[in-house]
Structures are given as C-alpha cells and as structure tokens.
Symmetry: C2
Subunit: 133 residues, 2 copies
Amino acid sequence: MKLTTKSEYTLLALIHLARHGERGYVKIEDICEAHSIPKKYLEILFSVLRQGGYINTRRGSAGGYMLARPAAEITLAEIIRLMDGALAPTESVSKYFFSDTPLAKEKKMIAVLGEIRDYIAGRLEQLTLVDVV
Amino acid sequence: MKLTTKSEYTLLALIHLARHGERGYVKIEDICEAHSIPKKYLEILFSVLRQGGYINTRRGSAGGYMLARPAAEITLAEIIRLMDGALAPTESVSKYFFSDTPLAKEKKMIAVLGEIRDYIAGRLEQLTLVDVV
DNA sequence: CTCCTTGTCTATTGACATGATAGACAAATT
DNA sequence: AATTTGTCTATCATGTCAATAGACAAGGAG
C-alpha cells in the first residue's frame, strides 16, 4: 500500500468540492490556495479524476470543477486505488495482481498480509467523502 | 507504509535462519539459492541486521549467519520498521514523525488513517518469527 | 465578435529510492 | 599457506514522485 501526495492532494481537493456542494463550479486556483497545492500538479490529478468520471468541468469564466457524483457514493478506497494503486501491503496479496513476490511461497506470511489487506480495504471501502467532510 | 523487497528478502532470510535453528551457521549462498535472492543484495540487508543485533556472523569455512536472538522475540513489526521505515500509511499519522503532510489539518482523515496504523502496528507487533515459520 | 478567463495537453525536470552488481579487502578455518 | 567466507566501498540503471513551463482549446462577458 502506498499513500503519496497524489492521494492526499486528491482527497483534499475532493473534500473541498464536497464542502462547496451544489453551489456551482470551483476554480482550481481557489482549491490550491486553500490547501497549498501546486496548481499545475493538481491539474494532472484532476485530469485523472475527470477521466474516472468523478468530476465535471466547465471552461471559461465561472468555470471550474464540481463533483460528478454524490459525495456519499465516493469511497476513500476507490480514490486511493485510482491515484496510488492497490491497497494491499504487497503485490502478492493483492486481489487483482497475483504476481510473484519473494514472499509468495510463505503461506503464513501471505495469510498475515492478506488479513491486513482485508482490514485496510474493508475500512476504506466503508468510508465515503461525507464521512470525512 | 511501505513493504519493499528489502523487508521481504529480509523476512525470508530470517525465516530461513529460524528454521535452521541451532544447527550452526548458514552460508549466505544457501539462503540465496533457496529463495532466489541476489547474493550481493542480501549481503547489504544482512549488514543492517547485524548492526541491529539480530544476527551473529562467523567468517571462514563453516562460517555464515545465525539468529542472535530467539525467533520468538523478533517481531515482524521491528523487522519491517528497520528495513522499510514506519508502519503508518502516511507521515502525518506516524507516532514518531509528526511532520506536516497535506492532510494534516483534516482531523477526520487523520483519525481514519491513525486507526489503520494502529491496527497494522498492533498486528505486526504481536507476530514473531515463530508464528510464520 | 473579440477579449479574457479558465481548463487541457504535451513535455521536461530534479531529486530520490529501489534493486542490483563488481571488486578489493579482512578474517577465520583447514 | 590456501581456501572459504563475510565486509566494505563504489557504482549503476531504472522508475517514481513531485513539480513546472508553455502552447492550445473552449466557453462566457462585454
């Protein structure tokens, strides 16, 4: 499991959008100023969110970004997976990538790590943006 | 939290030593062959373990490596911390590094991540080498 | 219709960590 | 003395993270 500034900035920005709610589009610069995020960097992260269908955009003045789905339907797990990859501590215990890691043959290690993965995934899949706003 | 091949190779090697038990020193090459670990790379990892007091060494023929402490007293948590750093998902929820991360001001996020950290740390601190041999 | 505002795209960068390798050196056993 | 093994220093390729720059496209305001 990885949790880089990609996920962190993204979650911050999404929380910002969730707080702003239905009151129209939010300019990227407002978000960046509020949380000290480099503008050009957040643009890249937002382009991933847009392609993932999480946000709607509008250009021109009065343009900006807005949540495309209800905050209650966006889980922390999917955002982190989208930005930083699988939640498993190591590849060999990821549900979707059964590629070999050095530990792959140590069944007890795999069991331990799998258990931790299940906890992390379970917890983060329960939580949505509304829980952290 | 990070779990790279450093921790993975190290855990594998320690498990190997634990299985060999009191039956004398184990050559690094035997370990490498058994688990497909690059020899020169494992040497580096072993030097960290030695400086940490986890293994004893002996040179010359019939030399090699041996656990310096009972396997039951070596937790998975300390090995992973030694090789890959803190167990917390992100710096801002690490017990020892309260440095600022972007999420630092979002109390609910910190609570969630702290909870996950506590679970991971608790689990890995309970488990020792004998549990995974 | 034109200007201004804002998002979109392509690319490039520096810093750092990971994973690995090579070779000289030191110590202990036979 | 010869052989075996660990120890040390150094270097390397690759990839990711984090950030920045600049040209371009689209929409709204006047």
